[in-house]
């Protein structure tokens, strides 16, 4: 097992200095850093095997195709899916959710119900809201008071007309872990399809799909040490078969005539156009890296760091942490009385600490938690306790400075 120092050396960017200080990167909920070997995999593919996939009868194309399909198999194994037909490469979580929403649309009619939680990222909220509006469906939002999914409220809205339940595994705002296994079980009793946003969970909860039995699972590679521009839509085979393609063109058709077109088998009929084969190579290498590091070890480190983050931030004078969920992973968002989140994040940046400020694409959740904006710190397994201490010292200094000039709000 690697030491933390050895682990960090795997990530070239973590050695960076900003404004003359060591970078403390705590915005992993936005994107994670790439291990050198993931970058090597991308460069290797580009240097030696760059060719379009599934189309050429020559060496480079076959190599490129092999790398893409190997990555698909790796993702399949990582998630515990049953076959490559259940793994579709997309542009990311948002693309995946929209693909499901559009794909399920023909089967929805007026009076059907779509249920989401108030903690959802906009990418797992707005597509369903808009779909409901287009089809005349009811759109129900389950409250999550203080960042905890209200199971009783969910049971109250769940009914025979509920067709889709869309929830995050882990909230990108509060880090709350939603009980997706129980949600799925209850939703399935009513015959509803369950779509899980796994963006914040996939890095340290690869067992989500097996344990929950959800129908669809969406995530982005760049939140699990892969690169941006590629993600995955997992779907149970039977459910995937019911998804109508939402993009048409090359790669997803079998035969095309002026009068008729037949579609390819899964997963290809949901992958129109040239896939991001370089990104897929990166994702495959990221899966290898995470497996070698160990899912349990990653989860252990991230849970310990999250607990420390929560405890240390909560001790800073003036800080109000958003949400008090029973289980929290990876993320802590907070507000400071009398100080704007942007001001805090800007001053932290000058001290080498990278966090995010704003609404975090979670305006509904923020409002429910009584805030208009927040600062979010999010850890990954390559962060350290020392970095959390640096964050908190820099935060205290920033708050003192801002309050000495009147605070702001």
């Amino acid at each position: 097992m690697k030491t933390q120092e050895e682990l960090r050396r795997d990530f070239p960017l973590l050695q960076r200095r900003v404004y003359g200080r060591q970078l403390v990167y705590l915005d992993n909920a936005a994107t994670t850093q790439l291990p050198g070997r993931v970058m090597d995999a991308m460069c290797g593919h580009m240097r030696k095997s760059n060719a379009n996939v599934h189309r050429g009868a020559y060496c480079l194309s076959e190599e490129s195709t092999r790398l893409l399909e190997q990555a698909r198999e790796k993702v399949c194994g990582y998630l515990g899916a049953h076959g490559a037909g259940e793994i579709v490469f997309t542009g990311g979580t948002t693309d995946s959710v929209n693909m499901v929403a559009r794909g399920l649309e023909p089967g929805l009619t007026e009076g059907d119900e779509i249920v989401v939680s108030s903690l959802e990222h906009h990418s797992n909220f707005v597509p369903w809201q808009q779909l409901a509006a287009r089809r005349g469906c009811a759109f129900r939002v389950v409250p999550c008071p203080d960042g905890e999914f209200d199971m009783r409220a969910f049971e109250a809205v769940l009914g025979e007309t509920t067709k889709v339940v869309a929830v995050a595994s882990v909230s990108n705002l509060t880090g709350s872990v939603l009980p997706i296994a129980e949600i799925t079980r209850k939703a399935h009793e009513k015959g509803a399809v369950v779509v899980v946003d796994g963006a914040q969970a996939v890095r340290h909860r690869p067992g989500d799909i097996r344990e929950s039995g959800c129908d669809f699972y969406c995530f982005s590679a760049h939140k699990m040490c892969g690169c941006s521009g590629i993600g995955v839509l997992y779907g149970k085979r039977a459910r995937m078969e019911t998804l109508s393609p939402t993009a048409f063109g090359g790669g997803m058709v079998k035969t095309v005539t002026p009068h008729n077109t037949t579609m390819e088998e899964l997963p290809y009929r949901l992958e129109a156009g040239t896939p991001n084969f370089i990104g897929a190579s990166a994702l495959g290498a990221a899966v290898d890296y995470l497996k070698e590091t160990g899912a349990d070890e990653i989860a252990r480190i991230e849970r310990a760091l999250t607990a420390q983050l929560w405890e240390r931030l909560g001790a800073v004078d003036g800080v109000r942490i958003l949400g008090s969920p029973e289980k929290r992973e990876g993320i802590v968002s907070f507000v400071v009385k009398g100080v704007h989140s942007y001001d805090i994040a800007a001053l932290l940046d000058k001290q080498g600490v990278a966090v995010r400020s704003g609404t975090h694409c979670a305006q509904v959740a923020l409002r429910e938690l009584g805030a208009q904006h927040a600062v979010r710190a999010s850890v990954a397994f390559y962060n350290t306790e020392e970095e959390i201490d640096i964050l908190c010292r820099a935060l205290e200094k920033s708050i003192r400075m801002l309050k000495s000039y009147g605070g702001g709000l």
């Binding site: 001001d343 800007a346 000058k350 009147g406 709000l409």
Partner: protein, 133 residues
């Protein structure tokens, strides 16, 4: 002193500080000099569109010279508004309308403000220029 000369002095003051934290501190210090728009006047009519942190600004003319009162939820943005106020307060609209602002590109703000926030500050400047024309 012309607006251009005063702006050059402001740009030089920031540059002389060097360290980014000191520059921010200077900006926060400037924020204390902003003529604050009272809470009751932070309404839709005074709100500047396109600003992420909430900016309200009221412009008026007195004896042919500009007066500005403003507010933002963010202290850093208040500092920027204060800089603008410093450059423009009591100046003739004609002089302001002919000025091309440089401080966004020539101070540390160039690398600090996101595209959206820079756009918000430009909305503030555009509103002032429209008022002065």
């Amino acid at each position: 002193m012309t607006i251009k000369e005063q702006e050059t002095q402001l740009i030089d003051d920031f540059a002389d500080l060097g360290d980014e934290m000191l520059q921010y501190e200077y900006l926060l210090n400037l924020s204390c000099g902003l003529d604050i728009l009272a809470e009751g006047e932070r309404n839709e009519a005074n709100q500047v569109e396109g600003c992420q942190s909430g900016v309200w600004m009221e412009l008026s003319k007195e004896n042919g010279r500009l007066h500005m009162r403003a507010y933002s939820d963010s202290l850093i943005v208040r500092g920027i508004l204060a800089m603008i106020g410093l450059l423009l307060e009591n100046r003739r609209p004609g002089e302001i309308a002919n000025h091309r602002f440089r401080f966004l590109q020539e101070t540390f703000l160039k690398d600090q403000l996101s595209a959206e926030r820079s756009g918000g500050i430009r909305s503030v400047l555009d509103k002032i220029l429209r008022f002065c024309k």
